[in-house]
Subunit: 316 residues, 2 copies
Amino acid sequence: MTGNEQRLRSWRPGQVRDAITAFLDSARDVAPRDRVACFDNDGTLWCERPNYPQLDFFVDALRARVSEDPSLASTTEFAALLAGDRAAMGELGLTRIAMALVGLFAGTTPEAFAIEVRDFFARATHPTLGRPVRATTYQPMLELVDALRELDFTVCLATGGGTEFVRAISQDLYGVPPEAVVGTMVTYTYSADPDRVDGVPRPVLRRATGVSGDVNEGPAKVSNIQAQLGRRPILAAGNSAGDREMLEWAAGGDAPGLAVLVDHDDAAREFSYLSEAGSFTDTEPITTIGARQGWTVVSMAKDWATVFGDATRIDP
Amino acid sequence: MTGNEQRLRSWRPGQVRDAITAFLDSARDVAPRDRVACFDNDGTLWCERPNYPQLDFFVDALRARVSEDPSLASTTEFAALLAGDRAAMGELGLTRIAMALVGLFAGTTPEAFAIEVRDFFARATHPTLGRPVRATTYQPMLELVDALRELDFTVCLATGGGTEFVRAISQDLYGVPPEAVVGTMVTYTYSADPDRVDGVPRPVLRRATGVSGDVNEGPAKVSNIQAQLGRRPILAAGNSAGDREMLEWAAGGDAPGLAVLVDHDDAAREFSYLSEAGSFTDTEPITTIGARQGWTVVSMAKDWATVFGDATRIDP
């Protein structure tokens, strides 16, 4: 085995592993400042079924708040969520439900929010996989992240989820620092001196109820990566229509780029679902688009010898 | 001399150097993830008089474009700029002039913009100091940046200037990567496939004419640092009213924080000017506010043995 094959030990031999190791070899000829890789998170680095972990976190927090203030449970969005009423939730739409949940944390400081997220990950169990949520990251992808970092890549996350949610655990799970997490960003309210001591202000930021700019999906993922990171990735990995533009951007630069698409075709070990067609401007599944464009389409069932790794410890 | 005094060799002995070395010593007890420092750029890390270097860059680019298209010179904002008519410029206001200049680069890709900035720094000379613009960085502040980095601080820039402008030279001048530069951010337009090859899109970002969110001054500096970096600094350095909130935020956290304010009182070696009062909500000079709050107010004349260092090489 070569060094790269050793590093990617959870990947089965085949075209996909060959494409990745060829990319890693070629990256040695790329200027270090251009060695940037962007990974989607939900469904690319960790399991997103049956629910996004962020939704489970929000519902968990909602239950805790309802136990203190039962009137919350009658809010339209929250009632649908708490009943697990998928029909009602579908009718309301994910955006409206998400914004109601964001509102639940209005007034919270970034530090307090991070502690609450970490507390959830320290104890939450996946509903069907029989493992902690923090242990539903994909071992082969973690190995790819490590192999890139060994080549001095700046490894970034580009998630449709909440930036601050993912930042709370990105260092522990992926070794990615907060500034390298690009996501959907909540707005903050700045207060100069709610807690003035001896004439010296003690400024504080508190979460507001809106998001800043666009939800981090589709073309916005590209613009947001440029705005926050200032560099174009030469490797991007995703699993859904919302990752299309980022993958095309990474693959379509001057340097040799790699677009990695994870296909969830493994009902036995994880889940089997086709990326939904018709999102954004696409009328065909993202796997079809990716195959046509020469992306590296990963079959979870065929290409991964192992799906999940050991649980990472997260202290609240 | 202690190690810190050796590292800060361009700082004269005294209260200011003592405050900085005491902070560096105490930072060893701070958790590594909280070791974050944010530096303003104009007037804090490099000379901002008689003009912001960014303004000189824009005017230089304007002259080049006017030589290709003389009609540009009759635009109200550009005519005032090219004539150096400070009265007319004052009447138009910096914001309107800045936006006209941003418009000059509409359609430019991030890569082409960075090349143009680097080309300017490779050749531009300061109008009065008799040195390259890239050599008007402050040697004592570079030593502070190095000392912080030696302690594994994440060193960031929080500039009122253009994010992409500063990013083009931040790695060379300060060792700060693009993702650690928080500034005033231009908006981009994403185009899917202007240059499609064999059915495969080649997406491109081009500068638009607006800025995203607020100009990065005052309270916006605090919110923007949180949004982009996800961490609160424990050291902040600035020199103007636009840095006040950032300095109060760094000094007012739970960890021992340091607010460093550069006072330009050195007409012999650089410039002498009081930070303007009345900006934002302040009715007194920032040096007065800083002294009252116990900030470390640096007298350029008294505290710095050397002002400027050697020129950094910048290849276009």
